[in-house]
Structures are given as structure tokens and as C-alpha cells.
Amino acid sequence: MNIPNDLRYTKTHEWVKINEQEVTVGITDFAQQEITDIVHVELPDLGKHVNINQPVAIIESVKSAFDIYAPLSGEIIKINTLILEKPELINKFPYLDGYLFKLKIANINDLNVLLSVNDYQKLVTER
């Protein structure tokens, strides 16, 4: 299972790539394996203000539908429209072409709530 070192994580299996106030959000390799083959994605509207832990996107597989939570509060500044047409990109490249959206975060201090790579590794192996 791939858990890149340069990312931060959430308990609900989202990953966050931090670039100053802009962050990229996706779901982890572990999450895509658990969800299995993804067949449909619903993304938030561009410009939407989201609150931390609020359900903002939906990922659907043949198994079930899953809520994706905002890892941080902020404004949606970009959505990955490519995965709307090709949801399998999330299964194939969860950390690259399969990202979900980019967020301009409201409060830089929120970053402290995110898990480190070690914490996330621990979370996943304890299951």
C-alpha cells in the first residue's frame, strides 16, 4: 500500500498536499482499495465555501456510495473534472491524476489537525 511521505492525512482517508494556502485533496491508496472500482463521482461546486469535516463529495463504487469530507475549511478553487468522465483514474492514480479538488484554506492553523504520514500508517495497519 502506497502512503507517500510528502502528504498529510485524515482519519477518514483523505490525503492533503500543502502548497502554502492552496492544498490539493484526494483519497488514499488504502481508501480506493477498500472502495473498489469507482464508477461515479460527485464533486463540490467551484467557489463553494466548505467547513472542516463537512461532506463535500461523493464517490460511488459497485459496492456502495461513500461521502468524502473536507479535510480543512476553505474555498473550492479547482475541481478535477477529468475524474467525472474517467472515475477509474482515482483507482489507478489516487495521488496524481485521480485527485479530487483544490482548496484555498481559511485558517493556516487548521493544518495542525491533519495526521502525519506515521500517524496515518498506524491508523491503517491497526484496522
Binding site: 472500482d37 464508477v39 461515479h40 459497485v62 456502495s64 456510495a65 472515475p87 477509474e88
Partner: protein
């Protein structure tokens, strides 16, 4: 696979002649006349009969096999209900008929409402909703209307993470935001978390009792009291009512509003997309908001009452799915109070019998006792790359309908079984034997056989992913 009618059609055999001698050119303008021929299949009556008989043999149904589909209550539906519903005195009636000419129908609906009140502890029922999820939506619209009337702005509904997916969908459709409540490890409501979530914004809590693990919510009285102290309405999802009919009433537990799936607990056929029925019951304070028309008994006869200014309005064409309502009425009268109670006890006994035979070697997240159904987690016994879905498909090879899998979401590799009260011990024993052969023998010795299952069905394993990503909706 059985060929389509057009594929078995040939031009050189005797078949029905459907040509007619009406001169369409006189009656229909030329721009509306069809230019190409109709391609009606040319088939003998015996071939046609065989075609449909062969197709019907491919049905998986309760009339051919055990159907332990958890959470769906696939019980036997008495055939006398079908006979009554097909009687010409019922099936020739039109909803536009004058009320005075359909007094019998109205009386049956009125009496079924009263029976459901007696069974559930609610004060009033509407029979209009066309299915369980439609009942949920109706219930939530009633709740929204209630708060609008008492001028309180409440925007959220709390739903546990073990709930049926229709609960959050219905709440969203009715205009509420949904807050998900995490369950404890044994599937119970987490009271401390519920207390944190309750505030002046919470319109309702939707609960399924017993919950989707088949376990009774032991703190239910505390939960309904907490809700009521907060001015929040308690919604009872009747999906699992089969476990408690005649034993306890949702109304007595503190629920204010509920729906019943007649096609589950009260033995009307499951629609498979066709007609179901999801009556909604309410306590007295919610009665003004029920859909119109209401049936009232004005001493001399039954009439429809449309004069209810606070009603949420009409939610279904005419008066609900009457044949389904009729079948459930027949079922209730057939069993009587004692029969309903015995059915509940037998349903719980059957589920516990199965669970007792399986629990020693398999994880049971809900504990070692259940009500009408139970959930197993196969996670710790899966071997050689086999998944729960493969086990379910393998059961088809043995002629069984597969149990529910991957629900509830809170249990990994879950498989949910509900035998219902209408199955015999012999049927349950045979199924348990086969299930154990698959998971304890084939999984070790012949795992490929499971992973490639089913082998004996009309079609082999379908590619669900391609079907979902690129659906072909026309032939």
C-alpha cells in the same frame, strides 16, 4: 440464453395473422402514417408459450428457492391474498368512481389504517406512499411542515451510520441537512455523541429498531427522551418491524412518526421496482399535516376528505397502491393478533437458530443474540483472495439467492441473513451446511471455484463495473 422473439421469428411458418382490413389511408393523414414495416415476430403459439415458460424458469424467487436476503424480509406471501386482489369486484374498480359505489374499498383502507395504528401505537395512518423510501420522504415532509407551522427553523436530521441509504437520501430530498451519528462497536447508538449533536437545529432523529445488525437499541427510551427534551421529532424506520410486531409498539417507545413497508412485514409482494406500499403513521400532533385525501367514517358511509388546510398535499396519484394495501389487509386478518405475535417469535427464533449454528467460527459484530436477522463479518476467515461477494455468488450455484452483502457499511466484509418466519428447520439446516462447505472447505481447497462463481446460472459473473461506467440502455 433464451433468444428474443425477433430472433426466433421466421417468415415461412403458420402463425397469428395480425393484418387488418381497415383502410388506414382514409382515416389517418399521410404524414402520420408509418413508412417502414413493423417487424412483428412471426411465431407459432407453441413456440411463443415455450419462450415465456423458459424465461420464467430463470427467475430466482421465493417460489423456487430460499431467499435469505437480509433487511428485505423475503417471507412467503399467502396466495389467498393474490386471489382476493384478483377478484373482479376489486380489479374492475376505477379510482374515478363515485365514493358511494366503492364503499367496500374505502372500508378496507379505513380498517387497515386502524389495524396499523393498533400494531404500531401511532394515532393515525396514511396508506398513500408507494414504497418505503416514499414513506420516508412523506414523513420528513410532514416534519418540515410541522416546524414551519410552529415557526421553528430546524434544518438538520441526525441519522446513524448503520442506517439504510434511503434515510439520508430522503432527508436531503425533503430539504434537510444530514448529520451522521457514529455507532458504537456493537452497532448501538452512541449516547454521548448524540448529546453533543443535539441542539435547537435538529428537526428529527431517524432510527431503525432493531438496528441493521439485527440488535435491539437498548437505550431507546433514553434516546427518545433526549430528543423530546430538545423539541426533536423521533422517526421510526419500519424496515425491521418484522422483529417486534405484537411484542412492542414504536409508539410506546416514544416515536412520533414512522413508516411501514407493507411488502416486508405484512407479506405483500416485493415490487422489484413495481408497486410497493409504505404507509406513514403519526402521533396526534402531526395528524393535520398528513397527505390528502383522508378517509373518514361519517357514521353512514366512508368519504374522502380533502379539506385539510395544513396538509402537505397529495403525494401519490389517487389513493395509494390499493391491491398491495388489500393483500396486507388479507394477511393481517388471516393471521389475527395471535398469529402475528407467533410470526414475530418464529422469525426471531429462526434467525437465532441460524446464528447459533454459525457464530462459533465466524465473527458476529452484533453479539451472540439477534432479533429477526444477523450480520456476520467474514473478514477474519477469508482466504486465498476470496471476498464476501465471491461467497455470495457461489451460493447461487447451489440454488440459493445470495444474502445481503456489504451492508451495513459499519461492518467489514459483512454478510446479512434474514430467514423470516416462513422457512422450515430443514431448509435452514441445508443452507447452513452448504454455507459452511463454501467458507470452510472450498475456500481452502477450491478457491478458484468460488472466485469464478457462479457456474450454473443462465449468465456467468457480469462485469458490474463496466455496466455502471458505460451502461447500454437500449438494445
Amino acid at each position: 440464453m433464451e433468444k428474443l422473439l425477433n430472433e426466433i421469428s421466421t417468415c415461412c411458418q403458420p402463425a397469428y395473422d395480425i393484418s387488418c382490413d381497415i383502410n388506414i389511408e382514409i382515416n389517418i393523414p399521410s404524414n402520420l402514417q408509418r413508412c417502414s414495416s413493423l417487424h412483428f415476430p412471426n411465431i407459432t403459439e407453441s413456440d411463443l408459450l415455450r419462450h415465456f415458460t423458459n424465461l420464467s424458469r430463470n427467475n430466482y424467487a421465493l417460489s423456487t428457492t430460499f431467499y435469505p436476503l437480509g433487511s428485505c424480509t423475503m417471507k412467503h406471501n399467502p396466495l389467498i391474498s393474490e386471489q382476493v386482489a384478483r377478484h373482479y369486484r376489486f380489479n374492475q374498480i376505477h379510482p374515478y368512481q363515485d365514493e358511494l359505489t366503492i364503499q367496500g374499498n374505502l372500508e378496507i383502507m379505513y380498517k387497515l389504517e386502524q389495524d396499523l395504528c393498533a400494531i404500531s401505537g401511532m394515532d393515525y395512518f396514511t396508506l398513500q406512499p408507494a414504497a418505503g423510501a416514499h414513506g420516508e420522504l412523506t414523513g420528513l415532509l410532514i416534519i418540515a411542515k410541522y416546524f414551519e407551522t410552529i415557526k421553528q427553523k430546524r434544518t438538520t436530521v441526525i441519522i446513524p451510520d448503520s442506517a439504510h441509504g434511503t434515510n439520508p437520501s430522503s432527508a436531503m430530498l425533503a430539504g434537510f441537512n444530514v448529520i451522521t451519528l457514529d455507532s458504537t462497536h456493537d452497532g448501538q447508538i452512541n449516547i454521548d455523541k448524540l448529546k453533543q449533536l443535539l441542539n435547537e437545529n435538529v428537526a428529527a432523529i431517524m432510527l431503525t429498531v432493531p438496528n441493521t445488525l439485527g440488535v435491539f437499541e437498548k437505550n431507546i427510551l433514553t434516546i427518545t427522551e433526549l430528543a423530546h427534551n430538545n423539541g426533536t421529532i423521533m422517526y421510526y424506520d419500519g424496515a425491521n418491524l418484522n422483529a417486534i410486531v405484537g411484542i412492542i409498539k414504536p409508539g410506546d417507545l416514544g416515536f412520533d412518526i414512522m413508516h411501514i413497508n407493507l411488502h416486508k412485514t405484512f407479506a405483500a409482494p416485493h415490487g422489484g421496482g413495481g408497486p410497493g406500499s409504505g404507509p406513514v403513521g403519526v402521533k396526534k400532533f402531526l395528524e393535520p399535516f398528513l397527505p390528502i385525501p383522508r378517509i373518514i367514517n361519517n357514521k353512514t358511509h366512508f368519504v374522502f376528505n380533502y379539506e385539510k388546510h395544513q396538509s402537505i398535499g397529495k403525494i401519490k396519484a389517487f389513493f395509494g397502491n390499493f391491491p398491495v394495501i388489500l393483500k396486507s389487509y388479507v394477511y393481517i386478518k388471516l393471521l389475527g393478533a395471535e398469529g402475528l405475535i407467533n410470526s414475530t417469535k418464529q422469525a426471531v427464533l429462526n434467525a437465532n437458530y441460524m446464528l447459533a449454528k454459525l457464530r462459533d467460527n465466524i465473527d458476529v459484530p452484533g453479539g451472540h443474540k439477534c432479533l429477526h436477522e444477523f450480520v456476520l463479518s467474514l473478514k477474519s476467515i477469508l482466504k486465498n483472495g476470496v471476498k464476501t461477494v465471491d461467497v455470495a455468488k457461489r451460493l447461487l450455484d447451489y440454488g440459493y439467492y445470495a444474502p445481503t452483502i456489504y451492508f451495513p457499511l459499519i461492518v467489514e466484509e459483512s454478510i446479512m441473513m434474514e430467514p423470516t418466519e416462513t422457512e422450515s428447520k430443514q431448509t435452514l439446516d441445508k443452507f447452513i451446511e452448504i454455507f459452511k462447505i463454501i467458507i470452510f472447505k472450498e475456500m481452502l481447497d477450491e478457491s478458484d471455484k468460488i472466485k469464478c462463481a457462479p457456474h450454473t446460472t443462465i449468465v456467468r459473473r457480469l462485469d458490474e463495473v463496466i455496466a455502471a461506467r458505460n451502461p447500454v440502455l437500449r438494445w
